[in-house]
């Protein structure tokens, strides 16, 4: 029995390592979007890996390793956000000032990118998981630890905010308030 348990543990560990081989970039990118800070994202991703590694026995289904680790990562981002009260505040550019890559073709996308950055961290997370990872609501709920109804309402709120910032015909592509 002990051998079977050890075998299962090895399978979980291998599943996690396999996942990270391709998934570390994605985890880091998701943390960066949620936190808006590369340094914080690096630390959080590292901490989440540590948390997952020491809690690897909590991974009951190796086929769900991505959802399991994403939930740990999202929780770690929330924890980091709570702790960052002394961090300096970075701000986006004011309306009307040129951005480094504000070419006409990219302006609308750039405005949306800034609008995503202006959402709350929880809203950023559900937007990325829905519109970038193409996950259905229940899968997003599994990764954020929220109920499906909450995910829906957060998506609704986020899309309202993003649509308000979306100016496809605005040559400056800037968010107007």
């Amino acid at each position: 029995m002990s051998g079977a348990r050890d075998g299962a543990g090895e399978e979980r560990r291998r599943a996690f390592v396999r996942h990270l081989d391709a998934g570390l970039d994605r985890a880091y990118a998701l943390a960066t979007v949620i936190l808006g800070d590369r340094a914080d994202a690096e630390e959080v991703t590292h901490d989440a890996v540590c948390t997952a590694w020491r809690g690897i026995d909590g991974l009951r289904d190796p086929d769900r390793v991505e959802a399991w680790f994403t939930r740990i990562l999202v929780n770690a981002c929330r924890d980091r956000f709570r702790r960052r009260r002394v961090r300096p505040i970075a701000m986006d550019l004011p309306p009307g000032l040129p951005a480094a890559d504000a070419t006409p073709d990219l302006a609308t996308v750039d405005a949306l990118r800034q609008a995503v950055a202006a959402l709350s961290p929880d809203h950023r997370a559900v937007v990325v998981l829905r519109f970038w990872a193409d996950l259905p609501v229940d899968e997003i709920a599994a990764r954020t630890g929220e109920r499906a109804g909450t995910v829906k309402s957060r998506l609704h709120y986020a899309v309202v905010q993003l649509r308000a910032a979306w100016r496809p015909d605005d040559p400056d592509g800037r968010t107007r308030r």
Binding site: A39, W53, R54, G58, R60, R87, M91, W132, D169
Partner: protein, 483 residues
């Protein structure tokens, strides 16, 4: 403007955001973690690295290629909340008979009635409630024309005109029993690396009525911040951003740190200003030797964390804690038991209990965070650190500290998860987790205002739909419950 085009533009924007690649250093560190047995919780950087004997993939991960992608400047505080708050996804609870051993501390229980709670819609509309009972949560969003006032005790949601301008970002929202204070910042020019952008800032205050509603706002102070505070790898490295004044509020007095006159130096002037002074009247000032990055205030003292400006990746981290007494303005460094350096590079977070400084140290390392209480040069250990958790102090009063802890706890019906819980400490009772009735108090995102700990989470609306819950626990009641 079709839905398809919106979807495409949004997906394009997200593609660019998600194009980030894990830095090589992160890959190396992760590789080292995976080379360790899975049972050692300490981060790899704090222990000897044993690359042999682990999983062979560690080396593979270390070979990842670093791809630096230019990134948009984020809005750091864009949440329409009274703090860095976000909804709590997990309202964890445990039966009183089986508190998780993973807490690593005994439990003190307050009556369930000590916690007030109300749930509001995510897209918040005004609604009536009982007579104002408080405490109140003030939700101020950048660009919003209204402040939403949530009465956690009475259940109402009311609105009041926001004093912020359309181009201002809300940096901080603080309140006590009598005052609501809002800090805003406005970028003034574009990024011209390596020259810092400038940001205009304003501190606005309104007195609060007995019903919790703010009156007319006055501008307490305003200015321009020109000096950034750089952190390794942060967005500021490719285009520095100025730091709006750190701000603290206690009992009708605000403290904030501003750049030297004329912008000749970073924020080294600490201003202490009673809010009931007539506009234009001034204040007490203290001088810091290095840039002030966080402030704490009590009725008798001000304390701050200061650090050299412009920390670069290879610099030796440099910070210290300083305290000044309001009566005579005398300042002195506070010995917190650790010296800034590579081993202690994270800035401490401080709160004050009278003249005693509660310093949370090494908070970004999950297993090495400690909390100390320093009073008159005497250092007491509040939290010695624990392999399974880390705690940070968020409030102090009357010799009692309140902390928010995080660690991995069993989650019934799911895998063990990172969760947070409230803890409290006194010299007599030691460190204890806090339960209300039979449940641990688990604030995912929380803030302290007017001696209440307030946190938000997920709750049910009367019609069964999900909403955002606001909960509050009187810290005075909590202190009274300590054995």
């Amino acid at each position: 403007m079709t839905d398809d085009r919106f979807d495409k533009d949004l997906r394009d924007a997200l593609d660019r955001l998600m194009a980030e690649r894990a830095p090589a250093d992160l890959r190396i560190r992760v590789g080292r973690v995976l080379a360790q047995p899975a049972i050692d919780p300490r981060p790899a950087r704090w222990r000897g690295v044993r690359l042999a004997g682990g999983l062979a993939l560690a080396g593979t991960l270390a070979l990842g290629v670093l791809a630096v992608v230019m990134w948009p400047r984020p809005s750091g505080v864009a949440t329409p909340s009274g703090s860095a708050g976000m909804p709590s996804p997990i309202a964890s609870s445990s039966p009183a008979s089986s508190w998780p051993a993973e807490l690593g501390m005994p439990v003190v229980t307050v009556p369930s009635a000590s916690v007030r709670q109300t749930t509001v819609q995510d897209l918040m509309a005004e609604r009536a409630g009982s007579a104002p009972a408080g405490p109140f949560a003030y939700l101020v969003g950048s660009g919003d024309t209204s402040i939403r006032v949530v009465d956690i005790g009475g259940g109402s949601v009311r609105t009041s005109a926001s004093p912020t301008h359309a181009d201002e970002r809300v940096i901080a929202v603080l309140h006590d029993d009598r005052w609501l204070v809002i800090e805003t910042a406005t970028p003034l020019d574009a990024c011209q690396p390596p020259v810092a952008t400038r940001a205009g800032w304003r501190i606005l205050a309104a007195s609060l009525g007995s019903d919790g509603m703010p009156g007319a706002f006055d501008v307490v102070d305003s200015g321009v911040a020109s000096w950034p505070f750089l952190l390794p790898g942060s967005f500021g490295m490719d285009c520095a951003h100025p730091v709006p004044p750190p701000l603290a509020l206690n009992a009708g007095i605000v403290a904030y740190a501003i750049d030297e006159t004329g912008g000749a130096g970073p924020a080294t002037t600490v201003v202490i200003r009673p809010l009931d002074l007539p506009p234009g009247s001034c204040c007490q000032t203290l001088t810091a030797s290095r840039q002030v990055v966080q402030l704490a205030l009590s009725p008798t003292a001000v304390a701050w964390v200061e650090s050299a400006n412009g920390l670069k990746p290879d610099d030796v981290p440099d910070w210290r804690v300083v305290e000044g007494t309001l009566a005579d303005g005398a300042t002195a460094a506070v010995p917190v038991g650790e010296t800034a350096g590579k081993a202690h590079e994270e800035l401490p977070f401080i709160v004050l209990d009278g003249t005693a400084v509660l310093a949370s140290l090494d908070q970004y390392e999950a297993s090495s965070g400690t909390v100390v209480r320093v009073d008159g040069g005497r250092i007491e250990t509040v939290d010695p650190g624990h392999a399974n958790r880390s705690c940070g102090a968020v409030w102090g009063g009357g010799g009692v500290a309140v902390l928010v802890c995080s660690g991995i706890l069993p989650d019934p019906g799911s895998s063990p998860m990172d969760q947070q819980w409230l803890a409290t400490w006194s010299a007599e009772a030691g460190l204890r987790a806090v339960a209300a009735g039979s449940r641990l108090v688990s604030p995912m995102a929380s803030w302290v205002a007017a001696d209440w700990l307030v946190w938000d989470g997920v709750g049910k609306m009367p019609d069964g739909t999900d909403g955002t819950s606001y909960s509050a626990l009187s810290l005075r009641a909590l202190a009274a419950a300590m054995p």
